[in-house]
Amino acid sequence: MSDGEADFDERLHRKLMRNVARARRGQQAVLGEETADSAEGAVNVDDLIGSIQSASNLNDLKTQLTVTDKRSKVLSAPVHRQQRERIHRSIAYDETKKEVGKWQHIVGQNRAADQLVFPLNREQFRVKTVAETVETMTPRTPLEMEMAAILGTSKHNLTNADPYTDAEKEIMKAMSLKEAKARCADMQRMRALMSYKEAKWKRQKKIKSKQYHRILKRQKRKQLIKEFDDLMTRDPEAAREKLELLERDRVKERATLKHRGGNQWSKQLRLHATRDPKAREKLQDQMRFSRQLTEKHGVDSDSDDASNASDKQPTDETVGETLERLANDIDEEEAVLLKPNPWMRSKLSEMRRKADSSITGSAVTASAFDEQLRRLEGLPDEQFIPDDEDDASTAGDVRIVEIDEPSSDESDIAEMEPEYQEPRVVAKKVSRVSESPKKRKKAKRSEEGVSPAPSSSIQAKNVDLDSLFDSLDKRLIEATQQQNVDEEREQQPKKKKPKKLKLLEQLAAKENATRADADEALITEGMSRDGRTDLDASSSRRGNAASKQREQAARGRDVQAEIMADPKHFLKAETRPVVQVAPDLVEQMDEFDDAEADRQKELLAEAFEDDDVLADFESDKLAAEQSEKPKDIDLTLPGWGDWAGPGIDATKKKKKRFVIKAPEKPRRDRALPGVIINEKAEDSVKKLQVTMIPFPYTSVDDYEAVVRHPIGKEWNPESSHRALTQPNVVTKRGGIIAPMDKEATFKKRTVASISDSSDEDGAL
């Protein structure tokens, strides 16, 4: 623009002028008279035009003009109705979407909820526990203040943090240790007793039995009378109060005549009373009781002395005895308390074992050990050691002791605890506790050292393993020495390791196998071989005493093993010989002597033993296979593009093309000699099975696992059964299910979210 003068174009300028003039005319035509009369003071385009003297400042004017043109607000034409409605709709849609979108989360939650309980926003009812009420309690009334003051300053408060109250601590300080201990034990006992009594009374209060209450009432009455008689001489004032109570009973009885025989029961009973002596007795009892109730008390004091004398004695006696009895009670109850929680027991035993092992490491005398144990458990007295200590734990102790200190002589161990004196007894106990029957057996045998059976004892295995390794090492070393020593010396550890490892693996595999056997897993193929290794191990353990016999047996077993190795000989296999206890066959056999019996046996065997049962069976199997085999589909058309007739078979090419081969499915019994499994049998259940995986599942495995999972009461604990079968929706009968209240729902949510966030803050 700065050099506007330089490139001033005459032609352009003229064009502009023409346009402006045209615009002026046009405007005038549009606005008409309106501009003419209303806009007197307004600026006309003429003025603007008039102000143009030269073309030099024309650019400024142009900008001015465009600005004014822009500022002039002219309403755009109203849109078309259809368009307008469309806009309205889209806006309304967006707003509604936003509004409804707020519910999205809630709806999602409700849909995914495990259980919906209607009406939805019911008030949560929860009973406060005593501890909670106490925590929030602030004393307000004068009485409360006073109580709080007394209790707060009391020295007898017991908290969970501390086993002793302040008062007790003071007493303990004042007393000698022994006395204090005894006293504390006493106090604890008393406390426990109180709580038991409390519990007992609570329980008794809830008893609903009429019989019980009747008896209780009568007892109380007797007691009352006794007390009254007792008080008559000593404290007449108190006696009068008791008398009033008795008198009230008497008045009541006289007014109601409840035990007089007017009620239904006694009427019924009276019908039988003539014949039934028991009924008569009952009636008489009732009458007697009624008489007792209505009789006046405090009138005759003849029997008082006697009753006093008889009453006093026992009370005097029992003072000492009751304490003892109470102590016994506590002991018993505590023993019971300790018993039924095996988890606690096991944990305790674990702790103890650890303590023991550490103690055995350092040489401690038996008494010190005992003391430490007690201190460890925080038990002040010997009585508090539960007398049924876990068997497993003690057994574990024994084992640990044996392993940790092979050199320590047994007498020491025996001294440590009386149970240790009889390791066998302990072992037996263990055997009863331990889970699997074979494991138990193993443990017992290894500890008894008898092991009459060729069972696989782990310990024995370990021993064997060690010896095996030793021998192997020796051999290896010898071999290496023979060769170049220098070279081998470096490689020795490298070479040794893999061999050793391999051996270890093999042995471990075998051991695993036998262990699996113990866990009732089944070994079929390797059965005899395992048996043999077991046997070897055991024979090495037992020594050479009866080695000859065993060798024979082993030789026999070798043959046996060969038989077992071939699965086809399964009919001849035998696990182990069993001690034969021959029956005394009264009917069939008693007239035969032994030789005769043997002959008979042979005869029987001949009669019933088929030579080649297996071969026969296998031929059956083959036939079954053939018949059950899925058939090929033959689509050849005889004579189509070929000659047909008797003796002319379809060509190979044709067969290949037109015979659809049935899919070959391996038979289930292919590896099982002597077994025919019917392949068609499955079809019967296949009709009932699901053929499509139902909705949410996409894999067969998942669906099957879910279906397989038991939800019934018979297979589950009650709580999980209920959780697994809880209904999706629970409604209260008769309760109105109102639609969700927007305000309430969102208010609750905001409150919840705020409180959540505040919690988090607090935690941070």
Partner: protein, 579 residues
Amino acid sequence: MKSAKPRYFTGGAANETGSVKKVEATRGESTSEGAISAIRPKDEATGAAPPFPQKKRPRSDPADDPFIGDAPISEEKLKKYDMGAKNLRPATAKTKLAQKKFERRKEKMLERCKQAARAEILLSEEQGFLEPENGELTHHVRQREIASAVDISSATKHFDLDLAKFGPYRVDYTRNGRHLLIGGKRGHVAAFDWMTKRLHCETNVMEGVRDVQWLHVETMFAVAQKKWTYIYDNAGVELHCLKQLNDIKRLEFLPYHFLLAAGSNTSYLHWLDVSIGKIVTSFPTKLGPLDVMTQNPSNAIIHCGHPNGVVTLWSPNVKEPLVRMLAHSSGIRGVAVDQTGTYMATTGMDRKLRIWDVRQFKQVHAYKLPLGLSHVTFSQRKVLACAVGNTVQIFKDAHVGLAEAPYLVHQCTGTVTDLRFSPFEDVLGVGHQNGFTSLIVPGAGEPNLDALEANPYQSKRQRREHEVKALLDKIQPELITLEADDIAKVNTEALEAELERKAKVLYLKPEKIDYTPRHRMKGKSSAAKKEHRKQGVFEKHRKVANQERREVEKEFFGQKKAEADKPKSVLDRFKRKDV
């Protein structure tokens, strides 16, 4: 306590990982505790009345608690109860909502496994065995000695019924082990509560008795007599005469299916539904008289033993044996299957006792026993009893191959003809030539009873309740299969075939159908009308085919997204919709 704590936490290597977690947990809690205690002094500072002395909650000081959190459960136990819940993949569910629900379900299932494992603690009873002292053998111990050693109530469980006249006896106990039924070959039938020795009934049916069998409750029992089978109630009154079951040799009752299975002398096998009194199936096995028969309690399959040494397995749904196993080289004398359906024991004329794994049909162990070996039975705890001539030989751990000598031996006065262990009791009932003997076999019965399943102490009301419940839970005979959980499986073959078919539908032309309209009277069969009808049928057919194709397309290629946000034109309605 304090000295014990650190030891606990730095405990053995086995639970080191566990203890680390615990320590962390305690730290977390203790910090929060600290925060609370820091606030507390403020209240005192305000000078208000001293607050009530508060008992601290036991949880408040977790550092002192050596047993934090729940008791640990071993992996093995969890595995035992886990039926595949651990491997579920909720993320594979079809929708988001379904995923969420599936996730919840999985959690619940895992929790159930835990709880079930934890509940094992309630099975506190243990089985006991005779423990011999050094050098002594258990099979030298006589019943007399056992009876004198045990308490009086247990001692009464050994008794002998001398019934020599009515000759060899068959025996049966109810499922709860409370009641005993004996049937002598010469017609003597007696039912009684064998613990209290209270007799329910005693009759002579005046006909040969082949077998006796309790039905689902102790008020009814079936007796296979020489001609027909009869059902009596516990007062000995004849309720039914089952003429369809004639010439029956052995009876078995399948309690969950309410089926009375019977094997006849004429090789027929029958299954009778006792709840409706109808024969379910009945067919000839063509394998000779069925006098060796038992049931597999875990899957209700009937096992029969035959003179050619074969054991056959039968279900009412297939008229051929499901499985044929060559078990012995000569005739089978006894078959028994244990409670879990894992082991089968067979005895044969070849003097062998064989233990099989019935799930795999493989022999696991074999023993040679003396001559005269016949019947065999398993107890609940897998103690095995064999009849050998007139003796009963009982084996412990025979199923794991550890039997070296009989555990117990008892000699009866006559040849043993039947053996049954009493459920939930350490008792073996022996029927023999001269009556019945009840033997004490320590460790035979299941010590932990499940009263929901079979309750030895049930009252009359409970029995009735149980009967109704059992009827409601009755399993249909169609569901009897070799593997009991077959019904919970998906028929994968059918599923695959269906998928294949669907995939084909996409590329198949709709099948042409050949249809000639039927001739109708009254001018309804003009050429036009006929054609009209024809086209209608074709149209219908096409529609069905198209719909199926569309569905398959949707499944395979997913749904086409609608062109959204484009203002619809009035003319859109004339557009083709399927393009």
